[in-house]
Amino acid sequence: MTAQTSTLLAEAETEANQPVQRRSGRWRYIGGKVLGSFGALMFVIVFNFFLFRVIPADPVRTLARNRLVSDKQVEELTRTLGLDQSLPRQFLTYLQNTFSGEFGLSFKYRQPVGEIILDRLWPTLLLVGTSTILATVIGIYLGMVSAWNRGKLVDHMSTGFSLTLYSMPEWWLGLVFLAVFAVGAGPIPKLFPTGGLHSTDVDPTSFAGGLDTAWHLTLPVITLTLAYLAEYSLIMRSSLLDEMGEDYLTTARAKGLRDVYVRRRHATRNALLPTTTLVVLNLGFIVSGAITIETVFSIPGLGLLTTEALEVPDYPVLQGTFLFFSIAVILANLVSNLLYGLLDPRVRL
């Protein structure tokens, strides 16, 4: 993440150093970025097809083992899956499908891949999206407080706290929470369910169902929020610390502004830049899910779908999910590239 941020900064700076005419420069910049993203997308589409076919497992053999005895049965299955066609032919079908917005049928679930991804998307969005938002807000606040009180107890506490959580594997943190709050330990009663997205007997779209889902998601969301927290708080802390040595803050103080005001109006605003980049880039990763947490809390999200598909390997699902993840990341990169130019007045476009 930090590496990405710094390349981004470097790029932005080189762009800024070019003394071209402003207007056309801006459009050239935007056009260039959009074109670049489009290129990346095209590459992903082609690469996707071959990437998963490199896996040494044969989906037909995986699906047929211990079940389909005769050659005829295996042939029927191969034909059903469309794997009897030559590789170039399959590639062509894949391209046609992809560009007409279809991703084919899953080998394992025999359902349209688009539908499966949509089914699995909302648990992931609820889980990872909520956690990311919470971690961003809390993390930025923590980082800000730490930096402003550098060296004081608050700083030590909050930095130590976020670093500890950052260094823990999230699945382990999840297991601990599960054992303590979903099973009950000592004086702590059982407070939350052990897993799943909602109870079996509620309609998830109803109000009660919504509450039930929130209840089920509490532990996993807390786990992920805690795990993600440090990333934001540390970046925010260090960038605010960088700003704190700047002359303009001395100027602001010399003008007689109150400390809180200096922090809020001057220091924080400038310190938010790297954090913004991080947040926008991370938005792209939300959809790829959190495989370990989805496993521990049995949440049927996109991360799990992908790992399960790898076992077969279920080419259409893998192609679909990876294309989807790639689009999200490429879009997030594009947005952060463009945003950076807008937010930082020093980057002249």
Partner: protein
């Protein structure tokens, strides 16, 4: 940048805390008793249903759902899985074995009220006979069947071109013609069979989607068979064993399917929980490359070691394997020592080797047999080929995703070393292993098979014709193949069983496989809520996910453990929760300590860095 360095410093402490927690997952739980109306039976499992369409899915979970939703023509007895009446109340065969006549029950209704007749049966079977995805799944049961007709509403007639001993076993779910005739062969490929499902089985599908995490079923009040004593079944998918076991302890679920041996031990004797280790009809083996060939030309391919191509060498190694130790160490007690490819669960077909041939852990006998076969010990303490050349290093392959596989091969390597034979173990993912096997570039590998109630398919994997397809040992023996053809057409059950045993006797001495273990499946349930499950095979079998749905029909709700059973001594167990509070306390303290250390480290760093 700072974070990276501190992360390393805190890592060790975090690992310590991790160790603590792992040891404490195993806490006793409060017990929520619910005696609501209706009676809901909640089953936890660790794998999803992959399709509710009985022509598409492959997972055991899917087969379980279909068996609840639909009826089968013939089902399996709980005792030994032999065929017993289902929708077909009776059947008979002509003397030449070419005509089978099934009598269909006349009191069966579909859930939409329409009667189930022989036309539905013939429709389903013909659909499979016609090819397509349906045939891919169920075609092997209709080998050499020419036609299936329904001359009247209660009769189905099947004509064959050759006798087929696998009949009358017909485990495919029978689907309603009036629904499925509107689904074309192209549509079947992606037909989900969810929403409004018309079935005839003991339970009715209510909700759930393939790949989803919950499935709901309600009892069928019009079911023709014994009326179940439970009203609803909820299935909940857990993505890891641990949370599932925890859920059983808290009472969120009543039954946990496929619990690993270690987890099972951890909850053994807990209040209100009963654990079962049931025989599963599957085995694990060490297989050899008995001679890989190009199937088309018959030319040898790959590079098997000449030693493993010798049946005498392989048979001798059968005495080098300590199967009891494998069960204890590699399987954590979750299995039984094994020796032939038809597990003893199928008692009528299982071959028991005579005492003088039977493998046991006897390294001296193994050494003696190797000596007799010419594999003499050389001066360097290594055995040589009969011609005096070195054997070289045997390549043993294990499946990286299976700890049992790795452990088995590690032990095997040690036992080989004791006999003066060098070997090396390589682990690889099973997809890759399949390719290596097909290329013949191996000497031995570890894997296993699941064996169906009819031994025919398992026996076929060892025939010459399966080389390059399902055969993984490249075994080929014309005498074995002849017996295979013979048993496949044998209509006399006793004679067929004899032939099946003879085939296993051949395999025993040729030893393409050294069967090491018969797997078992761990199950646990709340005995304070439900009892009366019927094991399959009986005794010693699993309670759910069987062939057939007898357990669901027989089980009943109870209010405390041991109810309705003769001699059930209450198991005393407590203290699981003891000390948990203390450990949590330690954990919290450790966290705080780590936090403080991290804070101080960071403080040092930052002051040093920034006050330059």
């Amino acid at each position: 940048m700072v974070s990276d360095r501190v992360k390393r410093a805190t890592g060790g402490v975090a690992a310590g805390v991790l160790g603590l927690t792992m040891s404490w997952i195993g806490v006793s739980a409060p017990q929520a008793a619910s005696a609501d109306d209706p009676v809901v039976f909640t089953v936890g499992m660790t794998n999803e249903v992959d399709s509710f369409n009985p022509f598409l899915g492959i997972e055991a979970e899917s087969f379980e759902m279909w068996a609840l939703m639909y009826d089968q023509l013939i089902t399996y007895s709980p005792k030994d899985m032999s065929p017993q009446p289902g929708l077909a109340s009776d059947w008979e065969t002509s003397d030449d074995g070419l005509t089978w006549t099934f009598t269909i029950r006349d009191d069966v209704k579909w859930s939409d009220g329409k009667p189930l007749t022989s036309a539905d049966v013939a429709f389903t079977l013909n659909r499979i006979l016609d090819g397509g995805p349906e045939a891919a799944t169920w075609g092997s049961y209709l080998t050499s069947v020419d036609s299936i007709t329904a001359p009247d509403p209660t009769t189905v007639v099947m004509k064959l071109s050759k006798p087929n001993a696998v009949l009358p076993l017909l485990p495919m779910p029978i689907v309603p013609e009036h629904i499925w005739k509107n689904i074309s062969e192209e549509e079947v490929k992606s037909y989900a069979n969810e929403g409004e499902v018309v079935g005839s089985g003991p339970f009715r599908y209510v909700s759930g989607t393939a790949g989803g995490s919950t499935y709901k079923f309600k009892v069928n009040p019009d079911y023709w068979g014994p009326q179940p004593k439970i009203d609803e079944i909820d299935y909940v998918v857990y993505q890891a064993d641990d949370p599932m076991v925890q859920a059983l302890k808290t009472g969120e679920i009543d039954f946990a399917e496929d619990v690993p041996p270690l987890q099972l031990k951890a909850i053994e004797g807990e209040d209100g929980i009963k654990t079962v280790t049931g025989a599963s009809p599957s085995f694990a083996e060490i297989a050899f490359n008995t001679g890989s060939v190009d199937v088309d030309t018959g030319e040898p391919i790959g590079d098997p070691n000449p030693a493993v191509m010798d049946p005498k060498f392989r048979y001798a190694l059968g005495f080098a394997i300590d199967r009891d130790l494998l069960i204890e160490r590699a399987y954590q007690g979750g299995g039984e020592p094994g020796d032939t490819i038809i597990p003893p669960a199928y008692s009528q077909y299982h071959y028991d080797a005579p005492a003088d041939l039977k493998w046991s852990y006897d390294p001296d006998r193994a050494a003696q047999l190797l000596d007799e076969a010419g594999y003499k010990m050389g001066d360097d303490g290594k055995r040589t080929m009969p011609d005096g050349s070195p054997i070289g290093t045997l390549r043993l392959l294990a499946r990286s995703e299976s700890p049992e596989s790795l452990h088995t091969m590690d032990y095997f390597q040690e036992w080989l070393a004791d006999l003066g034979i060098d070997s090396e173990v390589t682990a690889m993912e099973s997809g890759k292993l399949t390719n290596v096997i097909l290329d013949g570039d191996f000497d031995a590998f570890q894997w296993g098979w699941y064996v169906e109630p009819d031994p025919d398919s398992m026996l076929s994997y060892m025939t010459c014709g399966q080389r390059g397809n399902w055969s993984d040992s490249w075994y080929c023996n014309p005498a074995y193949d002849k017996l295979y053809e013979q048993q496949h057409a044998e209509l006399d059950d006793a004679k067929r069983a004899e032939e099946v045993k003879q085939m296993q006797a051949i395999l025993y001495q040729d030893a393409p496989y050294l069967v090491t273990a018969y797997d078992s499946i761990g199950e646990a349930y709340r005995c304070d809520r439900f009892e009366g499950f019927v094991p399959q095979p009986n005794p010693g079998g699993i309670l759910l996910f069987q062939y057939g749905v007898r357990s669901y029909e027989e089980m009943y709700p109870v209010t405390h453990c041991g109810e309705g059973q003769a001699d059930e001594s209450a198991s005393a167990s407590d203290g699981g929760g003891l000390g948990t509070g203390a450990i949590v306390g330690v954990g919290v303290a450790a966290l705080a300590a780590v936090g403080a250390v991290g804070g101080i480290l960071l403080h040092r760093r930052s002051t040093a860095d920034e006050r330059e």
